[in-house]
Structure formats: structure tokens, C-alpha cells
């Protein structure tokens, strides 16, 4: 109760400060438009922003405290702030690079790019490198239980804290190198999500355009079918189908992961279908399509020459969003234990296996980083893709005006 009271009092005090500051600003500048037309909400926002920044700075100082109890408590805040600053600088440098190197077109693109988008692109490139060259980068195999090495080595590589320099991120509960598994996770989780999305796009995209161009009964049947499939929440539907697939997979000897790819691609293709159909319909009503039809052009020419080239921008943005969605669904399934199966290393499974270490955070914050690293690896990629997509959507919507 006292916490709530403190917060309330703090809010009232901040409100008071905001009012006084605005009033003072009006008096000092003699009614300059900036202060004169400032609403109370805006001045409160400024005060709130300053308070939050000050608290973050204080927290950061605490994380460097010599008292381990305090330092441990603020360890994660410190890491988060450091991470934020490092990522921002990396994104800024990357954008600077993009502005100086490359063709006129890319340089122009980087000049108009917000920092979030350049961070997104940088992160996607890094992930892609790890995913493609996982075998060459990772020091150990993904399911290699290293002989003579203890399980549960604490990340950080500091022997005093229970680490081992040979395993900078420690080992897991059965003695596998976490760093290697993270790197292989990029290959497995991202790779599988990518293949699934491609499949979903191929299926949903072609059917969506077909429905848009042909119209009539084909459109009705496909659309109603998709409506029904979309009436079942996707994760629930995926879990149901995975139950059935798990029986089939053991019977047929086909890995469950293959079924998972097919199931998620099917479920996700319904969303792609909707978008492709909507985009297709917008294009089909254009006069240039009518002109082509009246010329006597065939279906192939219409779809590949007239429609598809005009649908690439929205489809590309949708690809990013769908990839995130598929990726998160796979991670969630794996986290629930019915997704990507061992021996493949995968981030969702890693989070589940290592989750118990979170409870050591108060005394050994480094130990708790292991599950969070895997979870952040997932979050970072989806955030990155979303940043890029957000920017792309903003850009295309801006051009329409």
C-alpha cells in the first residue's frame, strides 16, 4: 500500500514542479510561443522524462557499487543500460558507414534512415552471418557433451565466480557449451523460421493472388475456408495439430520438426492469403490491368508482369512481420516442449531448460544471465525485424501522401 502512496505523492509533486516550471518559463521569456502554447501535459511529460532519466543514471551508479548486495541488485539494470548504449553507438556507426559507402541509392536510403532501422539492419546482418556460418564460428558442437568439463559452469569466464575462460558463457545442465548452442540456435531457429515463412508465402501468396484475379466462386471458397482456419487462434491450432503430428512422426519416422514447419506454414499462409488477396484486389481494379485484360493477355502475364511487380513493397513488409510471427510461434512451441526437438540446439528450448537459474539472480547474477541470453537472442531479432518493417511501412505510407 505504501508503494502506491509513494507513487501517488511523487506524481503530485511532479505535477506541481511541471506547473511551476511552465509558469516560470512564461514569465522569464515574456510569453514566447514555446511556453505560451505549452499544455500542462507536455510540461508534465518533460518533468517525467527527466525523473526517469535521473533514476536510470542513479541505478547505473548503483550497479557499480562496491557493496555486492547492491551491485547484484542493480546488475541487470546496468547491463541493460550498457547494452542500450553500445547498441545505439553500433547502429549510429553503421548508419555513418552506410552514408559514406555504397551506391547513390543506398547512401540516400541511409541518410533518411532513423537509428532504429539502421540498428535493425545491422542486427539482421549479424544474425544472418551467425546462422550461415554457425559451424565455422561455434567452438563446440551443438549437442557435444564435453568430456571432463563440469555441467553448470557460470557464464562470465571468471574462475573466482565459478566460471571457466574456455566457456565464456558457461555450460548447461548436462555440460554443453552455451555459446556454441546459442550460435547453432541461430542456424536452427532462424533457419527453420525462414523456411516456414517462405513456404507460407508461397502457399498463401499464390492462392491470394489467384483469388483476387479470378474472383467469383474460387475467391468465395478460398476466402471462406481461410475465415474458418483463422477463427481458431493460431498457437492453439498449432498445438492441436502438433499433437496429431507427434503420433504420425513416430509412426512414419519423419522428424517432428518437418511436421512443425508444414503446420505453421499452413496456419500462417492464411494470414498471407488475406494480405495478398487485399493487395491483389487493389491492383486488379487499376485501369492498366483492365487495359491488359482488354488486350487479351493471359493469366500468367497478368500475374507476373502486371500485378506482382506492384505488390512487392507491401509483401516485403508483410514478409518481415510474418517472419517475426512464425519465429515467435516456433520459439513458443519449443519453449512449451513441442517444437524443435533435440539434438538440434534451439533458443526456446534453451530458455526452458535453463529457466531455473533465474532464481539465483540475487546472489549470483551471472548465473541468471544464461536463460536470459537465449530469450534476448529471440527478442533482439524480432525487435530488429520489426524496426526495419516499421520504417519501411512509414516510408511507403509517407510516399502516398
Amino acid at each position: 500500500m505504501s508503494t502506491i502512496l509513494t507513487i501517488l505523492v511523487a506524481l503530485v509533486v511532479m505535477g506541481g514542479i511541471a506547473w511551476v516550471l511552465r509558469f516560470a518559463g512564461q514569465q522569464v521569456t515574456n510569453g514566447a510561443p514555446f511556453f505560451r502554447d505549452m499544455s500542462f501535459g507536455v510540461s508534465f511529460g518533460y518533468v517525467l522524462g527527466v525523473v526517469v532519466l535521473a533514476w536510470l543514471a542513479w541505478g547505473f551508479m548503483q550497479s557499480r557499487s562496491s557493496d555486492p548486495a547492491i551491485a547484484n541488485k542493480f546488475f541487470f539494470l546496468g547491463v541493460a543500460i550498457k547494452g542500450f548504449v553500445i547498441f545505439s553507438i553500433a547502429a549510429w556507426l553503421f548508419r555513418l558507414l552506410g552514408r559514406t559507402v555504397g551506391t547513390d541509392w543506398t547512401r540516400k536510403m541511409f541518410r533518411q534512415m532513423p537509428l532504429t532501422a539502421s540498428f535493425g539492419i545491422l542486427a539482421i546482418i549479424v544474425y544472418a552471418i551467425f546462422a550461415i556460418f554457425a559451424g565455422a564460428i561455434a567452438p563446440y558442437g551443438q549437442d557435444e557433451i564435453i568430456q571432463g568439463v563440469a555441467a553448470n559452469i557460470i557464464p562470465g569466464g571468471d574462475p573466482a565466480m565459478g566460471g571457466d575462460p574456455a566457456f565464456p558463457l558457461g555450460t548447461d545442465q548436462i555440460g554443453r557449451d552455451i555459446l556454441s548452442r546459442l550460435i547453432y540456435g541461430a542456424q536452427n531457429t532462424v533457419g527453420i523460421a525462414f523456411i516456414t515463412t517462405m513456404l507460407a508465402f508461397f502457399l498463401g501468396g499464390s492462392l491470394g493472388f489467384l483469388a483476387a484475379v479470378v474472383g467469383g466462386w474460387t475467391d468465395q471458397i478460398l476466402s471462406r475456408g481461410v475465415d474458418v482456419l483463422m477463427a481458431i487462434p493460431s498457437l492453439i491450432f498449432a498445438l492441436l495439430l502438433m499433437t496429431i503430428a507427434s503420433v504420425w512422426s513416430s509412426r512414419l519416422g519423419i522428424p517432428l520438426t518437418v511436421f512443425m514447419v508444414l503446420i505453421i506454414a499452413l496456419i500462417d499462409s492464411t494470414r498471407v492469403f488475406r494480405l495478398a488477396r487485399a493487395v491483389g484486389q487493389n491492383i486488379v481494379v487499376m485501369d492498366y490491368i483492365e487495359a491488359a485484360k482488354l488486350r487479351g493477355e493471359g493469366m500468367g502475364y497478368l500475374v507476373f508482369k502486371e500485378i506482382l511487380p506492384n505488390a512487392t513493397a507491401p509483401l516485403l513488409a508483410e514478409f518481415g512481420l510474418r517472419f517475426c510471427f512464425v519465429f515467435l510461434t516456433i520459439a513458443s512451441l519449443s519453449f512449451l516442449g513441442v517444437g524443435i526437438q533435440p539434438p538440434l540446439a534451439d533458443w526456446g528450448t534453451m530458455v526452458r531448460d535453463l529457466a531455473a537459474f533465474i532464481n539465483f539472480a540475487q546472489f549470483a547474477p551471472l548465473a541468471a544471465t544464461a536463460p536470459l541470453l537465449a530469450a534476448s537472442a529471440i527478442a533482439l531479432l524480432t525487435v530488429a525485424v520489426n524496426f526495419v518493417v516499421d520504417w519501411m511501412l512509414h516510408k511507403t505510407s509517407g510516399l502516398k501522401e
Binding site: 505560451r36 485484360k293 488486350r295 506492384n310 501522401e401
Partner: protein, 548 residues
């Protein structure tokens, strides 16, 4: 009339796009006396609406006033506080928007929105304002003035909404009203009523007004003085009659000159000649809704048939029947005496080639991802089977014909072209099929007057050299005068009247043709007054307006 109401000095406006500020208006002066009506004309993109809003001290998102001053009755609107400005807007300066349907709040009744200004500004009580609203509706000749205010916006027609919005602008008896293209979205016959009521009420309350439009004839009826804008710069300002009779600037003269383009009359068609296209007793329907009733007319080689009518009259539907996009429910289409399959999918390649179309919106008629060369080359390859150098040579020739330099335009994308150039590409694509018959669907209505005239001259020249026949769909009678040989007037899906142009512009007419013809504004500043007197509306109007 020496009292200055509004004084704008060196106003510069900038708009934000691609993260930079680009000029929209480069320093325009504007002075308006009390009770004076100033017409602001210019082509699309001349910045007239933005300037009109700036006169209220208002800018839309992404627009800013970078320099200059706007002084309304001694108050500097650019330096005044938000509260002071709010006190003026609605009360002393009012605004009438182009689209009344979108500018009325769909959630409230007309009267609720009408009384909002007077009650919030403390000019009148709610009851007074409602009574006054009914009075204003009556003066604006709205049907059912007592009850129309209690309807929701979507229950009232466009022309009536536009007048209700004028009433709303009048509700606080402002000193100045900005009319932003109030009749652009209306049909000509509706436009007349709105113009007449606006003019009456502005005159009666001695309200000053800025009337923004792109239509010279309209502004000639409404304004005391005219200011011409071109790409953000003032071209000239003068008294309406002076401006119309003796424009000084080249640009203004060229605007006036457009109206003078007219093709010589052709000899009448020989009765026995086989028409190149013949529409015979066509009925058509969209689903179950019938839209065409027994439409018949012929089109002959080397001649232009203008199909005229207001929106919803069935002009474009007729075109869709001819092309085969909408198979008629009964009746048939014949090319050179040969009956065509009703559905375009059943027509042969050569039959399809014979009918070509040019569209109203060149933007949507050209695939934005194809280069100009590809767009024109496709029919050349598709119908003529030409490839390689032959194809290129043919495309170059077509580009020559539409007066665009082949080497310069071949590789460009449609987005790099102006509106008029895009329309020329549409013409070239139609010509590439080497047709005998081309449907031109409102091809000039989206273009500015000068550009539109260029297109009309080009079409006329091509017709003479290639012996084409045109079906020219339009709602603009000036265009009909300029290019038609024969005219077909349509209303509610029926042909009302048809015949050679010379006859059509001479009485006696079918009453609808008469209404349509007489409703087209002319450049004569007395046209509206004379017309109203002729129709006797002015008397009714006077009786309704009465004395306060």
C-alpha cells in the same frame, strides 16, 4: 469599401516531404476590403487552398508559414496566442470546405453542428441560433428548412450539404468566409443552385469572402476581384471585368485562350454509310440493378461522338458494354456491320485490337513498374508480332506521333512524367494496336486547362491523319464544343437526345439538354444573373431572402 479587413504581406508557405521543407507559396501579398469577394484561381498544385487556410492563420500538419504576416482587422494572426485565434475562427472568420460530406461530423445532426459555433463563441443562445439556422436554410433555398437540420449528414444530398455548410459558416455572421472549391465535387445542374445561394447570402450580409476555385467561369460569377496564382507565385490581380476583358500577363491570356479552341464542322454523315461502331438497343445491369435502357447510337469513321451526361447517367457503362467488360443483358454491339461477341473473353485477338481505350486517370492507367518503352511496346509485340529493332522503331514512331522525344522518354518510368505526358503515353498505347476506334473516357477532366487543350489538339490531329473514330465521354460541355462532331446526351441510363453538334447547340432542345447546356458556367460575369432571371429563380430567391 476602403476599410481593409485582411492584409497578407509576403506570405511564404512550406510543406514537408522527404524530411525537407519545400516551398508551396513564395511570398504572396493579399488585401481584402470589408464586404469584398476575391476570387483565387490557379491550377492544381498552385497552392491556393494552402493560401486560403493561411488567411485564417491556420496550417495543416506538415505545412508551415515560414515568412510574412497575416493581419485580420488589425490583429496579427501569426503572433496571436492560440486562445485569441480560437476566438476569431468560426466567429469572425469562417470556412467552407470542398467536401461537405466529409467535413460534417457523421455523429451529430446538422443543427447540432450549426449551433455549436454561436453557442460556444457566446454569440447567441441555442434557441436563437436554431431559429436563425432555419432562417438561413430558408434563405439558401434548402428544401424543408424547418426539419432538414435534424437530419444526419449522410441523410442529406451533396448539394444540400454544401449549402448547409454555408449556413453553418454564416451562423455567427462572420466578417470573412473562405470558400475552398465549394462546388467542385458537384454536378453542373446542382452547382448552379449552390452558386446562386452562396452569392445571394454573401451579398446580403455584406460578408467579405475569398473564393478559391480552378474554374474561371465560376469565379467570374462570384468575385469582385480575381487573383491568379501559378506554382506558388502571384501572376496578376485585377478587377473581374478588367481581368476577363484585358488580361496583361501571358499566362492569364493563355488560360482565357483555351476556351477558343474549336474544330471546324464536318459534312453530315452519308445515311447509307456503315458505322464503324454501332450500339443497338443495349440494356445493361450491374447485378440486378438496371443501369442502361435501350441505348442506341452509331459512330462513323473519322468522326467524334461526344457522350455527355452527369455522373450516374450511364456514359461509362455504355463504354464498358462496347469493350465487352460488361456484357449487355439485351441488344448488341456491331463493328463495321459485324456483330461482336458480348463478352470480351470471347472476342478474337483482332476484334480486341479494333477497340482501344484511353482512361481518365493516367496515373492508374499506366503500370508504375514498367518503363514507357515497355508499356508501348507490349501491344506492338502482342498484336503485330514485331520484335527487336522493328519493335523499337515502331515505338519510336509512336512516341514521335504523340510529340515526345523517343530517346529521352523510352526508359523513363510513368512516375517521372507530368500528368499530360502520362496521358500522351496512354494515347500512344492505344495507337500501338492500330485501331480504328478509340474510347476516350473523360481523358481531359483530370488535367489542367492548358494541358487538356494540348491533348485535345493532339487527338484531333491524330484523327485527321489516321482516320480514327472516337467515342468521347465527358461531362464538360466546353470540351464537347471543342472536339465533337456528333453529340449524344444521356440521363439515367437513357439516350435523351442525339444529333450533329451544330444542331445540339441550337434550340429547341429536350428539356434536360436545355438544363444541362444552360447550367454550364460561362465567362461572362453577368451570366449567372441573366440565367437566374431567365429561369425565374431569382424572383423566387428574392422572395425567400426577403428583407431582414
Amino acid at each position: 469599401m476602403t476599410d481593409t479587413l485582411l492584409k497578407m504581406r509576403g506570405v511564404k508557405l512550406e510543406g514537408r516531404s522527404d524530411e525537407t521543407w519545400n516551398p508551396i507559396i513564395n511570398g504572396v501579398d493579399l488585401t481584402l476590403a470589408k464586404g469584398e469577394v476575391l476570387g483565387l484561381i490557379g491550377e492544381s498544385g498552385a497552392g491556393k487552398s494552402t493560401l486560403g487556410l493561411a488567411a485564417m492563420g491556420f496550417t495543416r500538419d506538415g505545412v508551415r508559414i515560414s515568412e510574412g504576416s497575416v493581419e485580420f482587422d488589425g490583429i496579427d494572426l501569426l503572433k496571436a496566442s492560440a486562445a485569441v485565434k480560437r476566438g476569431l475562427l468560426g466567429k469572425r472568420i469562417a470556412y467552407v470546405a470542398q467536401s461537405a460530406a466529409a467535413s460534417f461530423n457523421p455523429a451529430h445532426r446538422l443543427m447540432e453542428q450549426h449551433v455549436e459555433g454561436p453557442t460556444q463563441h457566446g454569440v447567441m443562445s441555442k434557441a436563437e441560433s436554431e431559429a436563425d439556422g432555419i432562417e438561413l436554410y430558408r434563405k439558401l433555398r434548402l428544401p424543408d428548412p424547418e426539419s432538414i437540420g435534424f437530419r444526419y449528414p449522410h441523410q442529406v444530398s451533396g448539394g444540400q450539404l454544401q449549402r448547409a455548410m454555408t449556413a453553418m459558416a454564416m451562423s455567427c455572421r462572420p466578417d470573412l468566409i473562405i470558400f475552398d472549391e465549394p462546388t467542385t465535387a458537384l454536378d453542373v445542374t446542382t452547382q448552379i443552385e449552390v452558386l446562386a445561394s452562396i452569392r445571394d447570402i454573401v451579398e446580403q450580409f455584406n460578408t467579405a469572402a475569398i473564393y478559391i476555385t480552378h474554374d474561371l467561369a465560376v469565379v467570374a460569377q462570384m468575385a469582385d476581384r480575381i487573383k491568379v496564382l501559378l506554382k506558388g507565385d502571384e501572376v496578376e490581380t485585377a478587377d473581374t471585368r478588367t481581368m476577363l476583358s484585358a488580361p496583361t500577363q501571358e499566362y492569364t491570356k493563355s488560360l482565357w485562350a483555351v476556351r477558343s479552341f474549336e474544330r471546324p464542322l464536318k459534312a453530315p454523315v452519308i445515311a447509307s454509310a456503315v458505322p464503324s461502331v454501332s450500339v443497338q438497343n443495349v440494356d445493361a445491369a450491374y447485378g440486378k440493378v438496371p443501369v442502361l435502357h435501350d441505348v442506341s447510337f452509331d459512330m462513323h469513321e473519322g468522326r467524334t461522338v461526344a457522350v455527355v451526361g452527369e455522373s450516374g447517367s450511364g456514359k461509362s457503362t455504355t463504354a464498358r458494354c462496347i469493350t465487352g467488360l460488361l456484357p449487355p443483358t439485351s441488344g448488341q454491339i456491331a463493328f463495321n456491320g459485324e456483330v461482336m461477341p458480348a463478352d470480351y473473353r470471347k472476342r478474337s485477338k483482332d476484334q480486341l485490337r479494333q477497340v482501344q481505350m484511353i482512361y481518365q486517370m493516367a496515373d492508374t492507367a499506366l503500370n508504375p513498374r514498367m518503363s514507357i518503352g515497355e508499356i508501348i511496346a507490349r501491344p506492338v509485340q502482342f498484336y503485330m508480332g514485331l520484335t527487336g529493332k522493328q519493335k523499337r522503331a515502331r515505338v519510336d514512331k509512336l512516341l514521335d506521333q504523340i510529340e515526345l522525344e523517343p530517346s529521352e522518354y523510352y526508359n523513363r518510368l510513368p512516375s517521372e512524367l507530368s500528368g499530360g505526358q502520362k496521358q500522351r503515353i496512354g494515347i500512344a498505347r492505344a495507337l500501338a494496336a492500330e485501331p480504328k476506334f478509340i474510347i476516350c473516357d473523360e481523358v481531359t477532366s483530370a488535367l489542367d486547362q492548358l494541358v487538356a487543350e494540348g491533348i485535345l489538339r493532339l487527338l484531333a490531329r491524330l484523327q485527321d491523319t489516321l482516320g480514327l473514330s472516337y467515342m468521347f465521354i465527358t461531362h464538360d460541355l466546353a470540351t464537347v464544343r471543342a472536339i465533337a462532331d456528333e453529340v449524344v446526351v444521356m440521363k439515367d441510363g437513357r439516350v435523351v437526345e442525339a444529333g450533329p453538334k451544330a444542331e445540339m447547340f441550337k434550340p429547341p432542345h429536350h428539356p434536360y439538354t436545355d438544363l444541362l447546356l444552360s447550367s454550364v458556367p460561362e465567362m461572362d460575369p453577368d451570366w449567372l444573373t441573366n440565367l437566374l432571371q431567365e429561369r425565374g429563380v431569382d424572383n423566387i430567391g428574392d422572395a425567400a431572402v426577403g428583407k431582414m
